[in-house]
Symmetry: C2
Subunit: 434 residues, 2 copies
C-alpha cells in the first residue's frame, strides 16, 4: 500500500458554486444567432425553450454562480466522487506516468450526466413548468433527467436515438423505472420526426434528430420546456463541479496534472473536468494540456470546421458558433452513442480555436481494447464513451514512457459500462468496425 488509491472528500467539501470559464476567457465565444433575423440571439428568445434561470446562466459572464441548496442536497446522494489513482493501469503499462481518474461512474445512473439534470429539473420546477422534453443518445442523459424530474414532480418525454434504443434496452427500462416516457427517434409523433423518416428511411437516428423532435414537442405542448444534456454553456457550467472537486483532490494527492483528458461528445464532461484547471492556465500562466478524445466516426474537433451551424439536424435551434461536421452529418452507429453528435459547444469551440484545447480521434476498436484493459486492471468496466478518454490517457502514458518522464495524467471516467455490455459482446465477437 505505497500510494493512496483513492482521495475522497466529505459532503461539506463539496463546491458551493459552479465555475463559469467565460469570465476568464481572452476571446469570449461569439454570440448565438437567430437564424431568421441573423441578429445575436436575445435571452428572451431562448426562454420559450429553456427555463429562465438556465437562459440567464447561458448568457452569464459572472465567474462563479451559486449552486442552490436543493441541488446540492441531491448531489449529496453520490457526490463528492472519488479521485482514483489508476495504479493498476500504470503497472500494466509499465509507465513512469502517474495516472489519476475522477470516478463519475458511481452516480446512481452511472455517469456524470446527473450533475446537470438535477439543476435543470430544479430551475424548471421553480418556474412552475410541468413537463420537460429531451433527447438521449446512450441513454445516460435521459436516465439522469428522468430521476431528476421524478424528484421534482415533473413529467418527462425522452426521444431516444433509435440505434441506442435497440442496442441498450436496459437504459430504456431505467427511464421507465424512474417514470419517464421514452420514444425511439426519429418517431411518428412529431412533424420533424415524420419528415426525417421519409427522408432517411433506414436511419439509425442521431442526437441531432432527437433534439429536433424534443424541441418541436417542447414548443407545441403547453407549460413545457426542453432540457439539453450537453454542448450548451449552462450544461458545461453545471459539470464544473467535477473539476472543482478534482482540484481539491489533486492537491491532497500532492500532484497537479500535466495533461487533462476527457471523451468528447458535445463537450460537457470534458468542460466539467477541464475548465477549473484551465482557469490556472488562463489566469496564472500554468501550462497544463487539455485533450478532447473524440471518436473517429464523429471527428468534429479534428476534422470539422469552425462556423455558425444549427444544434439539431433540421435547423430548429439558434445558430451556434462552433466546430461542426455540418448539422446534417449522419455519424455511423458506433457504440459510444453519447459521442455521436455533429458539433461542439460554443465555449469549447472557441477555446479549441484559440489553441487552449487539443483533440485526438480514437478508433472504435482501440477504444474497446483500452476499455477491456482498464476493466481487468482497475476492476471498473467503462462506458463505451469513457473508453475514448482511457485510450487517449494510455497513449499519453506510453509517450511519457518513451520519453522517460514522470508525467501526471488526469482523465474523467465519465461513466460505467454495465448497461452497455452488449457492445462489449459485439467487440469480443469481432463484429465491430474500427
Amino acid at each position: 500500500m505505497k500510494v493512496t488509491k483513492k482521495i475522497v472528500l466529505e459532503e461539506h467539501d463539496m463546491p458551493t458554486q459552479w465555475y463559469n470559464i467565460v469570465a476568464d476567457m481572452v476571446q469570449r465565444p461569439a454570440p448565438m444567432m437567430n437564424p431568421e433575423t441573423k441578429q445575436p440571439l436575445r435571452p428572451e428568445e431562448m426562454s420559450t425553450l429553456f427555463a429562465e434561470e438556465l437562459v440567464k446562466q447561458e448568457f452569464s459572464t459572472e465567474r462563479y454562480i451559486d449552486i442552490p441548496d436543493e441541488v446540492r442536497d441531491l448531489y449529496r446522494i453520490w457526490r463528492p466522487t472519488p479521485l482514483v489513482r489508476a495504479s493498476g493501469l500504470e503497472k500494466a503499462l509499465d509507465t513512469p506516468a502517474k495516472i489519476y481518474f475522477k470516478n463519475e461512474s458511481i452516480s446512481p445512473v452511472g455517469s456524470h450526466k446527473l450533475n446537470s439534470a438535477i439543476p435543470q429539473a430544479y430551475y424548471n420546477k421553480k418556474q412552475g413548468i410541468q413537463h420537460m422534453t429531451t433527447e438521449t443518445g446512450a441513454g445516460q442523459w435521459g436516465s439522469s433527467l428522468a430521476i431528476a424530474c421524478k424528484h421534482f414532480g415533473l413529467d418527462l418525454t425522452v426521444f431516444m436515438v433509435n440505434s441506442s434504443y435497440e442496442q441498450k434496452p436496459y437504459r430504456k427500462s431505467v427511464m421507465h423505472t424512474y417514470g419517464a416516457n421514452v420514444i425511439p427517434s426519429p418517431s411518428l409523433q412529431t412533424e420533424v420526426g415524420r419528415q426525417l423518416r421519409e427522408r432517411y428511411p433506414n436511419t439509425p437516428g442521431s442526437l441531432g434528430m432527437a433534439i429536433s423532435e424534443a424541441v418541436e414537442l417542447a414548443r407545441k405542448q403547453p407549460n413545457t420546456r426542453y432540457g439539453l444534456g450537453s454542448t450548451m454553456s449552462h450544461v458545461c457550467l453545471h459539470q464544473t463541479i467535477i473539476g472543482q472537486e478534482a482540484i481539491k483532490q489533486m492537491e491532497i494527492a500532492g500532484d497537479y496534472p500535466d495533461v487533462v483528458i476527457a471523451c468528447f461528445g458535445g463537450g460537457s464532461n470534458f468542460a466539467g473536468l477541464s475548465f477549473p484547471f484551465m482557469r490556472n492556465n488562463l489566469t496564472k500562466g500554468y501550462k497544463t494540456r487539455f485533450i478532447a478524445a473524440e471518436p473517429e466516426a464523429c471527428p468534429k474537433l479534428t476534422k470539422g470546421r469552425f462556423e455558425y451551424d444549427f444544434g439539431d439536424s433540421t435547423g430548429l435551434t439558434p445558430l451556434i458558433p462552433m466546430y461542426t461536421l455540418g448539422h446534417e452529418f449522419e455519424p455511423a452507429a458506433i457504440h459510444a452513442g453519447g459521442l455521436r453528435y455533429h458539433g461542439a459547444g460554443a465555449i469549447v469551440s472557441q477555446l479549441h480555436k484559440d489553441g487552449l484545447i487539443e483533440a485526438v480521434d480514437i478508433n472504435q476498436l482501440d477504444s474497446f481494447k483500452a476499455g477491456v484493459l482498464f476493466s481487468q486492471v482497475e476492476g471498473i468496466i467503462p462506458a463505451p464513451e469513457s473508453t475514448h478518454a482511457i485510450c487517449a490517457a494510455i497513449q499519453e502514458a506510453l509517450k511519457a514512457k518513451e520519453e522517460g518522464v514522470e508525467r501526471v495524467i488526469l482523465f474523467n471516467l465519465s461513466g460505467h459500462g454495465l448497461i452497455d455490455m452488449a457492445s462489449y459482446d459485439r467487440y469480443f465477437a469481432g463484429e465491430l468496425n474500427g
Copy 2:
C-alpha cells in the same frame, strides 16, 4: 440540508481485521460432518477443496483475523463504502423512523460479493493454485471472483444457474470481460450436470446444482480449488468489513440501529452487516433486532428445518448443521437469483435457532414494488435481491409510524440492479408471480 446525507470514511479508516463472531457466540455452531464417516469434519478433509488459509478461517475461533495488505490494497478501489441516510424514503413513508443504508452497490461489480472474492483469490494464489471453479446465481458472485482471479493471475470457470444465464446476459458478458469461462448449469461438462439434466430435464437450474458441478470440476482438475460466494463461515467473516465500517459511520451519524436488516440468500451479506453490531448484543447486552429478509419462494429460515444437510443438490459437500428446505429443494425461478438457495450458513443458523435473528419472507411482487419506490426516491435502482431488504425496512418503518416511535433502521443495499433491468421490465409488464 438539515441531515447529513452520506457518511464517508477515508481509506485509513478501513478496518484492518475481519470480525469472527464465533469467538463471542454462547452456543457455537455444531461441527460439519463427513457424510461417509459421520465424524466431525477435519480441516485437512476440506483443504482438497478450498485453499488452506480459507479452511483455517473456516475453523477459527479467534475473534479478529488480520486482513492481508494485498487484500486491503484492492478493497481500496471502492471501500470504505458510504453510509447513506434514506431521507427520500423516510419522506415518502412519512415515518418518524430514521432509515440508513450501507451502499455496497458502488463496488465495480455492483455488489458486496467482491469483499470475499478478493481474499479467496488471494489465498489461492498465495498457495500456488492455478485454477478456480465456482457457481453463480444472479451473477454478482461470479463477476466478483472473475475480476479477483484476473488480478491475481488465476483461471476461473463459473457455473452459472441456467435461469440467470438466460435472464441476465449482461452478467455473463461482465465475466467474459474479466476473462472468466462461463458455463450454464446444469451442463453437459460434468458428470453430476449430466445426471441432473437427465433427472430434471426442464430445470431452470439452482445454486445447489451449480455448486455440485463446480465442486466436481475442482476435485477432478489438477491444481484447482473451489470458491463459494456465501453461507460458509469464512465468507461471512470477509463480509464483516461492511458492518465494522457501518459501526464507525453510525457513530459519526450519532445514531445506533434498533433494527438491522439484510436480504438473505446464503447469509453472507446479512452476516457482514449484522455480526459486528450483534457483538454488542452478545457482549454488552444491547437489544438490537436483526432481520433476515428472504423470498417467499425460498423460505429456509421461516419455513425450513434445522438439521444436518448438504450444501449442494447432490450431496458432494460435507453435512452442515443448518436451516434448510432440503438439498433437493427446487426454488421457483424468481428474479432474485442470489436468494435461490436451499440452506443457510451454519453460524447464522445457530444464531437463528438461539433467537438472536428474526426472519421474514417477502413476496416477489412486494419486493419489486419496494424496489421501484426506492429507485424513485433515492435514485439508486436496487438489485432484485436487495429489494427484499428494502421491503422489510419499509415494513419496519411503517410499524414505527403506527407506533409513533423514532426507530433507527439500518439495512444493507447489497447491490444495484442496473444489470437486472429485464426483471424490472417483466414486473412492469405484469408478468411476475407473487
